[in-house]
Every structure is written in C-alpha cells, then in structure tokens.
C-alpha cells in the first residue's frame, strides 16, 4: 500500500507550456513537503472549457480516460494544480454518479471507469493533509513584509456542491498558507471574481476589463504582488498585463506568482527549481527588499 500522501498527478496541458513554472514549482514543493506525485502515465487533455461548451458527455469522456488510468495506480486519489482541469475531472466524476449519464460516457471509452477515486487540487492536499502549521515549521526563508493579494479564481471552490473545498465566497486556504510562509495577506475582496478566463484570444476586451479590475483592486488594497493557484488567471494577469495597461490607461507592474513558487521560496528551494524567471513581470525587487529587511533585522 502506498503512503498516505501518494497521489496520481495530472499536470494539465498548460503545465507543459505557458504555465511550466507552475508544474515545476508544484513538483519541487511537493517533494520538499513529502507529497509523492506519480504522473498519470499517458494522461490526455481534460477538454477544458471548449469541451463542456460543446457537449457534457464528450467532456466527461475526455476526463474519464484520465480517471480510468489512475484507477490502476496504487494511490490515494488524483490531484492536479490546475483549477480548470480540476473542475473538469470533478464535474465528470460528479455527473457519472448518474448511471444513465455514465453509460453514455462508457460508450465513448474503451473500458468503463469505476469512478471511486477522490479528486483534489494540490492546494487542497497541502492545506488539509499538511496544514499551515506543519508548513510554517519547515520555513527557512520567511517572506516577511511581502504584501499579497490572494486570488483564487472563479472555479477552484465553485460550485461548492461539486468542488467541496474551502469557502465558496471567501476561500482562505491560500491566505493561511501564505501567512504560514511569513507573507502579509491583504484583505482582497475579489478572491473569486472571474479574470476573463479563456477569452484573451477571441475577446481580448473581456480580459482587459475583468483582469484590469483585479489588478486595480489588488493595488488599492496595498498589495505589492498577487498570488494565484490558476494558470489561466496567472497568464491573464501577468502575460497580458501590458495589454491591460494599454486598454485601461493604467500602469501596473504587479508581479503575479503561483502560490507554489512562494512556498518554495520560503522553504529555501532554488530559483531555478521554481522557475521565477518565467514570470513576465519581474518579481526580483520584492525578494531583494525581503533580503534587505532581513539583513537589517539581523544587525
């Protein structure tokens, strides 16, 4: 039997490309925290939003192929860093509890899945199986003075009946983990507001408006950086920040981290393993300020 912290890991497509730093930092942090990730060997795309906007059976079948593979592994459940993948896997699993629905999904697959494995985010595992206290005990480089706006995105916790994690209007898991690594969490009111999702390409005006509002409010709250758990949110806020500034005549230079990068930094993991250089808005000055304050404190 595997240890209580061994999980089938579903990286998600963006983890191989535009959010490679999320995948790498997730792996580095899980290793440091004793969470064993075993990749689902031949994982395929969950279908993301495009699949469920076309058909729910097709969408569930694309997710179920991955659930099926994990069922042959000696693991405690399936975990993924990406909320979009998480939603698709969990919604598929939820809908397949209806036998008629499941039959139709099974018809599209080579073999039916049992559909009995728990599916969670990596965030949920770190928060519930480890917890902020255990994390705080491992911190070597506290992020003292780093003011953060914690942004969860719209689907990590919603709808609550399916996602079954944290509070659906005011989630706090990431807040507590960030406090555990020494950062200061600002009272950010738009924790679960949508960033514009995948409309960046087809309707850029949607993203510049919705993500622009998030950056404006984060800055108004006194945050020096935002921290996210979602590749799409991070990409909209970070990679598209110049587009947002142009559209809204704003001048944000807001670093947007993955929470795993900040946990890794506080655990003393190397910048290379956290891929901090992949962020579009350079966060370097924030760490130099933390370092300067630490040196001054030591004197």
């Amino acid at each position: 039997m595997s240890s209580s912290l061994t999980f089938a890991y579903y990286p998600g497509c963006s983890g191989q490309g535009t959010s490679i730093e999320y995948d790498k930092s997730t792996r580095a942090v899980c290793k440091a925290l004793g969470i064993e990730l075993v990749d689902i060997p031949d994982w395929s795309c969950c279908g993301s939003s495009p699949a469920h906007t076309v058909d729910h059976i097709l969408s569930a079948a694309l997710s179920a192929r991955n659930i099926l593979q994990a069922e042959d592994m000696d693991v405690q459940g399936i975990i993924t860093p990406c909320p979009s993948c998480l939603t698709n896997l969990k919604v598929a699993s939820h809908r397949m509890r209806d036998e008629q629905f499941k039959e139709k999904v099974d018809d599209l697959l080579n073999e039916p899945c049992r559909n009995d494995l728990p599916i969670m985010s990596v965030l949920q595992v770190i928060y519930e199986k480890l917890g902020p206290k255990a994390l705080a005990a491992k911190v070597t480089n506290p992020l003292k003075g780093l003011k953060l706006a914690p942004y969860y995105g719209c689907i990590m916790n919603r709808p609550p009946e399916v996602m079954d994690f944290d509070d659906c209007e005011n989630p706090v898991a990431m807040d507590h983990l960030m406090e555990a690594v020494g950062a200061e969490v600002m009272p950010f009111p738009l924790k679960v507001e949508c960033c514009g999702a995948s409309f960046g390409v087809a309707r850029n005006d949607v993203v510049t408006k919705l993500s622009g509002k998030l950056l404006d409010v984060a800055a108004d709250c006194g945050a020096a950086a935002m921290v996210t758990a979602c590749p799409l949110c991070q990409m909209n806020l970070d990679m598209r920040q110049d587009q947002i500034n142009r559209a809204n005549k704003s001048s944000h230079k807001m670093a947007v981290f993955y929470y795993t990068q900040l946990i890794g930094k506080a655990l003393g993991l190397s910048d290379a393993s956290l891929m901090l250089d992949k962020l579009c808005v350079d966060p370097g000055h924030l760490f130099r300020e933390i370092e300067t304050a630490r040196t001054a404190d030591a004197v």
């Binding site: 395929s44 058909d55 059976i57 919603r158 709808p159 309707r203 250089d277």
Partner: protein, 197 residues
C-alpha cells in the same frame, strides 16, 4: 449595429406567450440540463453577480425568463450564451439552487446544433482547441494559435505578446503527442457517430 442596452430593452418588450411559446424548447432545456427552470422567480441575483453582464446582449436572469416563456429563437440567437465563461457565480448564488451555468451551457449546445453563431471568434477558438486535442491528445498551444489565426484571418492576434513570451521559452513549437492518441480519436469518432445517429 444595436448596442447591448438597446437589445436589453427589446428583450423587455411585451411577448405574446400564447402565440410564441415553444413548449418543446422549455422541456428540451429542462431535460438536457436536469434543471427545473420554472423555479426561477427573477430575483436577479445571478445577473447582479455575473462578471459578464457588461458584455452580454441579454442579462442571464432575463435569459432564464425567456426560457420559461419558451422564446427559443431569441435565446438561441443571443451573444450572451457564447460569452458565459462558466465561472459558476450564478449557480453558486441562486437562492433556488438552479444550476444556471449548466442551463447556459446547454443553451450553447442547442445554439451550436441550430447553427447559430453570433460570436464566430469564440466558436472558432473552441473548435480549434478541440481539434488540437483530437489530433495530439493534448493541447498544442502554438498550433492552436496558428489554427485560430488561419481560420479567423486575425493573423496579428496577440502578436504584441511575442517579444515578451518567446524569450521565456515557454511556448513549445512541437506538439506533445500521447501514446494513446488513437483512443482520443476514437472518443471523438464515437461521439460524432452517436450524435449523427
């Protein structure tokens, strides 16, 4: 071109329900979504929390009302159902526990089947995404963008991001093909066969 506001006012005009109510449409929406749309009492909570109301031609609460009244053509022709990001705000906050986001999703499925396409770029993006999954088993981001730009003719989409993103080396230029690519193709083939049967 009609503005969103003008259309909203139009949607509030008197509707002669006896002559225009498509009851089969109401039943189809309820059947496909598993939701009882008559539970909606128009509190407006979904619209109040919807981040996309500014971009919609018909606010989500009015779409619910139009579905109750069997206004198939108006509902399936609107832009809103294509601009819903399934952020789950409406579903989470509905006091009558209606899964509004799923109703919106189902309306989009029906609009596709009816050949409605008021947001062609959004539809093309989704189609290009799924074509990439069908072909490689995983999304090939650079290929998806190339396909989208070719199909829409919008060849400068996100060109401004290139100087920023390319040096980061995050965008792969070769697809990640999975071993079981054939299984994914078969999922799509069986789905299409079932749909056309």
């Amino acid at each position: 071109m009609q503005t969103g506001k003008a259309k909203r006012i139009k949607a509030m005009e008197t509707i002669h329900v006896n002559s225009s109510c498509d009851e089969a449409f109401i039943h189809a929406v309820e059947n496909e979504s598993g939701e009882n749309v008559s539970l909606c009492y128009q509190c407006g909570n979904c619209t109040a929390g919807c981040p996309y109301t500014d971009f919609y031609d018909i606010p989500v609460s009015q779409i619910m009302r139009l579905v109750q009244m069997g206004q198939r053509e108006t509902v399936l022709s609107c832009r809103s159902i294509w601009l819903c990001a399934t952020c789950e705000s409406c579903t989470t906050r509905c006091p009558n526990n209606i899964d509004v986001a799923t109703v919106m999703d189902v309306l989009r499925h029906m609009a596709r089947r009816a050949g409605k396409n008021p947001e062609p770029q959004v539809k093309t993006f989704c189609d290009s995404f799924l074509a990439s999954v069908k072909r490689h088993g995983r999304v090939f981001e650079a290929g998806l963008m190339a396909s989208y730009m070719t199909k829409t003719g919008r060849i400068l989409t996100d060109a401004d991001l290139a100087p920023k993103v390319l040096p980061k080396g995050k965008l792969g230029f070769t697809p990640h093909n999975i071993v079981g690519k054939k299984e994914i193709t078969e999922i799509f083939q069986r789905y299409n066969a079932e749909k056309n049967s």
